[in-house]
Symmetry: C2
Amino acid sequence: MATRPLSRLELDDYLPYLVNRVGTIIAEQFGGEVLAEHGLSIAMWRVLAALAAHGRLRQIDLADFTSIETSTLSRLVSRLVRAGLVTRGRSIQNDREVSVKLSGKGNALVARLIPLARQYEAAAIAGLSREEILVLKRCLRRAYTNMKSRTTAAAGPRSKRLAG
Amino acid sequence: MATRPLSRLELDDYLPYLVNRVGTIIAEQFGGEVLAEHGLSIAMWRVLAALAAHGRLRQIDLADFTSIETSTLSRLVSRLVRAGLVTRGRSIQNDREVSVKLSGKGNALVARLIPLARQYEAAAIAGLSREEILVLKRCLRRAYTNMKSRTTAAAGPRSKRLAG
């Protein structure tokens, strides 16, 4: 097998590119065809889905689950509160911590959206075998934990992120 | 195997979630540790990488390759022109069409960034077998073409996008 020239990037074989375009096209279609009519952006949907999956969450954990930067997330949560879909309250463990959960109305909306979200996932993986889907999802989980452990390592005694 | 309740979404088994978090964490790390010192955002990098892979491109094709919405892309290209990294010109085939290509300076910068980009990809797929990586990438390409053909189908005589 010939070595690929270092100055060219074969995008069709480059994981970050492949991941970005799949994520974007699913988000565009689900966002435009389903979420828009409910006044939701894809980021708002991610917040609702994370709360549906995990129940009450501290904002810091919600940021982690949704991959949304904390100040953006805080504004999103405020919009969802105004829309009556989530409520903010004090954490049970620590009353200085703000936590967020779905309201009854938020729960009902998410329950209607989840089967539709699954249809978009089904459209994306159509034609793949059960085994391929398992490998695909397992590899994506591993890639995430690989990158996550890299930051944890870099956040050690002397940050390597700055030395790079 | 028990059927999953329709009202819950197991995020760790939901492809759009898995794809989004991997894409985000790689972009954050590569963006923060490498691109920032060159004054580049991840979106600007995607434009440069697409031009490095494909040569001169019409803006409409560049939008397609980068998954960046056309008006955002137009502003990004203007910034890259001002930075001296790309040039805009008339298309050879059709002189009403604007096309974009890397400048000498842009080419030199991308040539320095590509080996670093590959290091981040390598960090993400560390520990996966060669076979798993092939399946992962093939499935992501398939998922993209599945979604892409869905929009093409929906853009037929009577749009199904509105009927959903």
